[in-house]
Symmetry: C2
Subunit: 451 residues, 2 copies
Amino acid sequence: MTDRRLHLNAFLMPIGHHEAAWRLPESDPNANLDIQHYISLARTAERGRFDSVFLADSPVLFANPERRPSGKLEPTIILTAIATATERIGLIGTASTTYNEPYNLARRFASLDFVSGGRAGWNIVTTAGDDAARNFGLDGVPAHKSRYARAAEFVEVSTKLWDSWEDDAIVADKEAAIHADSAKVHTFEHEGEFFSVAGPLNVPRSPQGYPLLVQAGSSENGKDFAALYAEAIFTAQPTFEEGKAFYDDVKDRVGKVGRDPRQVLILPGIVPVIGDTEKEARELDAELARLISPEYARRQLAERFGLRPEQLPLDEPLPENLPSEDEIEGAKSRYTLIVQLARRENLTVRQLIERLGGGRGHRTFAGTAEQVADTIEHWFHSGAADGFNIMPAVLPSGLEKFVDGVVPILQERGLFRTEYTEATLRGHYGLPRPENQFTVGRAFVGLATQP
Amino acid sequence: MTDRRLHLNAFLMPIGHHEAAWRLPESDPNANLDIQHYISLARTAERGRFDSVFLADSPVLFANPERRPSGKLEPTIILTAIATATERIGLIGTASTTYNEPYNLARRFASLDFVSGGRAGWNIVTTAGDDAARNFGLDGVPAHKSRYARAAEFVEVSTKLWDSWEDDAIVADKEAAIHADSAKVHTFEHEGEFFSVAGPLNVPRSPQGYPLLVQAGSSENGKDFAALYAEAIFTAQPTFEEGKAFYDDVKDRVGKVGRDPRQVLILPGIVPVIGDTEKEARELDAELARLISPEYARRQLAERFGLRPEQLPLDEPLPENLPSEDEIEGAKSRYTLIVQLARRENLTVRQLIERLGGGRGHRTFAGTAEQVADTIEHWFHSGAADGFNIMPAVLPSGLEKFVDGVVPILQERGLFRTEYTEATLRGHYGLPRPENQFTVGRAFVGLATQP
């Protein structure tokens, strides 16, 4: 374990992960539409030698636009702009396998990988919710299992597209008038349950071969998918015990499908609320809780549970008879996590809303930089995390406090890099560049072992 | 006509519009994958005070990869990178209505419009060719007429998405905890022949309202579509007479659907091969022609005609019995243009290939900067063009010669701006920011008058 290094990702929820962050005097309430804001956040994370920045996404207007800044620029556009203004930091964008075509999406990530010199990552999501479906010709969201089956085939097709040009296909011989060796540019004629794609891609193989594959669902389907395809996993784990159990479970699944568990990195989310003293941190946390508008939050919670808002009185616990995870076609694991949190700590609906306002199920931690570093070190050394997905409650200030306060402590303790040593995102995560399936004559590892 | 100003667009075919440009000693044969190359071209065009740069596109590997650099990064990615490195120049990207979903594409262009501060433009194409179709689950390309019907509905849905937030929807009232006025954020529940989209978009209305709408097909369907929807038209017109006829025809169609013909700008393509003397220009033109590999070119020509290469002997004229435009489901107007060019000038297949290598049907003009300026002025003042789509045979040198040689002459003659006076792409083209259909209570102008 001596060469094991911690990994840090900055999750750029535009104005901060606390839903009331935009209401603080310090916040620009329209920063979600300001590309300079994103560039500045990414530069701060790069100054802190983070492995990557990350953008969540869904092709739908998520929240009630009254409640908080709800406009979201498309992630690959934001990340391209960041690429031109940074040197080293990885760029991970979320995109849906349910509402995209492999050819278009694979091409966009390959293009981002070229523009960034090998720093692209794709967070693969299947997109919950009927509202998104209704923007794409469907009455409601496809079943969870079907979405994951499509996601698996989507990734398979994408790797074929990314590998369709072998690494040495381009010869660029001006004299002989031959630009590429067409024997190394492959039409593959994929025919599957969801997709029929001939190839080749119209982009040669990119610096990383293909983008880092990231996954963030923690349902049973999600964990099986991650075991087969993911190279990094973002996950919400509210307690150490749950985090440790998840880590062991996923690493075990990775081993069972024949992959090396060290090559699948697990990064739980943490919402650090940092103060110079613990008291100051708790006061900021309490101030944010006061700024939450409980009526909006209750409506959103009711939607998640398939209830009317009146069925969730603010000062009572959650009702007894909620649906089981099996009956939910949405974000299954997040649903269960929220119900368990409320039951375990015997929270009223109002208290639950205040807890979710900060981390939406992720571990919120209010304390000093030293205390934040301690909890990170504890999880890392106890085999509950390979790194963390840092989700500051308020941006940019929360990220600045983390970079200036927590990172130097992690560096002093020898846990975290003091300079970048690699040029690509996969390099930062200590992962190898993938082989080309057409060159080596066998399919992408996840698929080779798929039942 | 006194306030009429010429418009210039730089068509960035990566290494130049001549297919053999990559073989010149001066050319980087992999510049098509180098984002710094695109940024540098755009900065040169901006130095020349061009209205815009433009990227063509198709979601397929077009040419034989042996023949020339055929990898193409995705246009909205390239344009985003350019946006961060330029200040004023417009950014027009091509995207297909046949192989995209309106929600995703409308969002990407709205995002580009935000990132660039109002400089985005969308060249709307329906995408010819069976090879592209086979990357999207189809056996062959949908019929021309059906593609245009889908394109019309796609644009209609896109304008609803772009207008789904009214311009004053965001109030950002921290005290009252209201970020947007939800009465001004519209779910519109579009149900049509091709699309069912609920809305709203998850991006507020962008600086330009929506991207400049550009169109480039010159078939009958294409011209009718352009009359209804386009604000700028790129077109291939090999002679002045054909250019003048096209211009009058389209402006007439625009008037007939109730739009102001002055608000639809027509920019024919021109491939300027510029020398210090006419002799030097002709020598460069001849050198490029010598570098074309006729076998590759013959194969491509044969595919366009639905023939085998052997049916096109290099030193004979085109066969008599070619299909009519009606029988072609591909790029109809380009097909007719090529056949007419060969017949009119009695060209052999080899001669035709040499002519097409330069401009692919666009007007190639080899001469001095003064001569290029003269022909531009002639077309502009004779009512055959509102501006030109500049397609240098070799890049970057051809664009530099145009900016340093031709632009100053056009400026001296009072035809072209010496400084930017506007901040947005629509501003450069002298066009108004579109009204919001939900605010004014009537649909997008093209649709209001559609049969």
